[in-house]
């Protein structure tokens, strides 16, 4: 049960969960739309990737490992594009960015 692989996988998945929780905290704490997007867009990338790598380590060398690797690859491509698209949409609709010292929205 307590093999080294299990321990490594647990640490990786726990690390991923930590970053996801941090992202949610950022979503709640940050003052406006743009800064919230910083928290969610970035913490998701490493959070998800750490969970996937943890699953890869736990699974060992098999076909599923390759599938998980492709999943990771597509997350790296899709995540920044999604973040950028949401931010551009907000900017084009004329949402003013929060400046230091203003009230939080």
């Amino acid at each position: 049960m307590f093999s080294i692989i299990n321990i490594i996988a647990t640490i990786l998945i726990a690390g991923g969960a930590f970053f996801m929780v941090t992202g949610v905290l950022g979503l709640l704490r940050f003052p406006d739309f743009y800064t919230r997007l910083h928290a969610t867009g970035k913490c998701d990338t490493l959070g998800e990737v750490l969970v996937i790598v943890g699953c890869m380590v736990y699974q060992g060398w098999s076909f599923i490992t390759i599938k998980l690797f492709f999943l990771m690859f597509f997350i790296f491509l899709a995540n920044p594009v999604g973040t950028h698209a949401i931010m551009k949409a907000a900017y084009l609709t004329g949402l003013k960015p929060w400046k230091k010292g203003e009230e939080r929205r």
Binding site: R29, C43, T45, P80, H84, M87, K100
Partner: protein
């Protein structure tokens, strides 16, 4: 871009084959080792790959560029550095979120680059979004101009003053000034 009809059909066929082989590998519906064979997956694969080919056959394989092989090797060499930057980005954001005083000072910055090709602009835009404290808002492809939202002064200066990433991407796609 106007292509001859024959060329277009050949292109669609190539895209279809790539997509379908990928589907067969991923769904594992033919396995010679245990004799597993699943017609449902094979037919579903033809339908799905066909729909995707019809919608996006002009995206996967585009016009041929120069020195594609050299650029690919340079891109592969660039990826580990980018992964390290992603790692730093997450610690940076986690620090700003968890710090009691929230050390953020958002600003919007604008700068010009020497990049012109779609692939180079996309790579830099994605890299900016993945690295510490900055997200791309908009690009002007004609001038290579980027509009970026930075969460504090330090990440903004990393783009405006150091220009490490811009130079690295320009090196990968051989589009230095």
């Amino acid at each position: 871009m106007t292509r001859s009809k024959e060329h277009n059909v050949g292109l669609m066929l190539a895209v279809f084959v790539v997509l379908y082989v990928f589907w067969l590998l991923m769904s594992a519906c033919i396995n010679p080792l245990n004799g597993h064979f699943s017609p449902v997956h094979i037919i579903a694969g033809i339908i799905c790959a066909g729909i995707v080919t019809l919608l996006s056959h002009d995206l996967l394989i585009t016009e041929e560029g120069e020195m594609t092989l050299a650029k690919t090797f340079r891109l592969i060499a660039y990826i580990p550095w980018e992964l390290w930057q992603i790692f730093l980005a997450n610690f940076d954001v986690a620090y700003r979120v968890l710090h009691p005083k929230m050390p953020i000072d958002p600003r919007i910055i604008e700068f010009d680059t020497t990049l012109r090709s779609d692939l180079a602009l996309t790579t830099l835009a994605n890299s900016i979004t993945l690295t510490p404290g900055t997200i791309t808002i908009d690009i002007d492809p004609g001038k290579g101009r980027f509009l970026v939202h930075a969460i504090a002064k330090k990440p903004a200066d990393a783009l405006l003053v150091d220009k490490t990433m811009i130079n690295k991407v320009a090196y990968v796609y051989m589009e230095e000034a």
